[in-house]
Symmetry: C2
DNA sequence: ACTAAATGTAAACGTTTGCTGACTTAGCCA
DNA sequence: TGGCTAAGTCAGCAAACGTTTACATTTAGT
């Protein structure tokens, strides 16, 4: 069910309203999306209840059904958002800056921000459509990563390169989860600066720059 | 609650009984443990129901409470078993064979076997005691891995080496999950032989052999 | 063979879950 | 101001969950 969300027909799609309205569908939707992303990423899909999310967002539970049809719909929206965010990063990163970009993603860039987008990608809801979305995001990301290191689709030996790109992606996601969800020390309190060196070694070893 | 399991006082602790008993507490316990490990590893803690596990094991639901006190207790038992298994592998692996050992773990070594032990390590139940067990397993494994590459506890710069070992472990776990749970292709159908090369590059890059 | 303990079964319990329908309130334009 | 619609609230349902209780069957010792 790919329900279109009933976004309110507010004229101004760009720019903040000068003073916040007490009722603003777009803002409420975003509040739910943010709260859900963090909960899903940290606790997983099944362990997260819609009441948890609504409370975090400071919003009534019933609005989840209104804006996202169901808990599943909200989860899929989170995956799509994570895919957009990730694609925006990997898409415009020059080949030799990929490790830095991953490190920045993992390290957080502002408290509990982008790091949870990565961790979200290995949370599963059991729903087939959500799985398709996630697989799509992962395939696209690994192909972009592989392409930055010389991979061209269809070439005979290129499967090896794609495999290696997926392993690099898996490494990044694994680190993100061990940091944010499992809280393994010293990995958990390592800074972006601490991570970028080892990550560069890791990515360069899997996908030698050419 | 670290409930001791009421193991039956069968005299023969070693060797299989010649003909299988129709009721055997030790065997039932093991059936539950195996079924639970696979479910927990693939679907996560919250998404797995005790009825699922009992059905997989071909056993009555109430026996989970009998042998493991609770679903939590069963999960903790799975973590302990995974820790033992992993420790047995990493403990007796010479330094230069570590990547091969990881690859063998990931690749499965017999259908859905050891691979799920690795994936289990990033499943969380939210319970504090289970978190402690998992953290212990991860810390011990990463220390063994780091020690195999020259790390000595307490040395000033050794924190860097431990961090890198944890990242290597995170990479292995990430690959295991992307393979077994997310089923990302071509990573998912890669053989042990396909994996060992990239894994060797990865581990050697993070922890240079000395 | 008899008995007591060990093992397994069936049904139900109270709670929590995602979701819904009827209702109330705020925003906006005539 | 009055009224209409979008936005948010509230109470509660049915299903699924982990666990328990009372009962049945098997095993082992004598």
């Amino acid at each position: 069910m790919t329900a279109e969300t009933p976004v309110p027909a507010t004229g101004d799609t760009a720019g903040e309203p000068a003073h916040r309205r007490r009722r603003d569908a777009a803002e409420t939707r975003q509040l739910l999306l943010d709260a859900a992303r963090q909960r899903f990423a940290r606790d997983g899909y099944a362990a997260t209840t819609v009441r948890d999310i609504a409370d975090d967002a400071g919003v009534n539970v019933a609005l989840i059904s209104r804006y996202f049809t169901s808990k599943e719909g909200l989860f899929e929206a989170c995956l799509r958002a994570a895919g957009d965010e990730l694609g925006r990063t990997t898409g415009q990163t020059p080949a030799d800056r990929v490790p830095e970009a991953i490190a920045r993603h993992i390290a957080g860039l502002g408290a509990a921000g982008l790091s949870s987008q990565l961790a979200l990608l290995l949370r599963s809801s059991g729903d087939a459509e959500a799985d398709d979305i996630r697989r799509g995001v992962l395939v696209r990301s690994s192909e972009q990563l592989a392409a930055a290191r010389g991979w061209r689709p269809g070439e005979p030996d290129s499967q090896q390169l794609l495999l290696r790109a997926q392993m690099a992606l898996a490494a990044g996601i694994g680190v993100a989860v061990l940091r944010s969800s499992i809280r393994l020390e010293p990995l958990s309190s390592a800074t972006e600066h601490d991570l970028v060196g080892p990550l560069r070694d890791l990515v360069d070893a899997l996908l030698p720059p050419h």
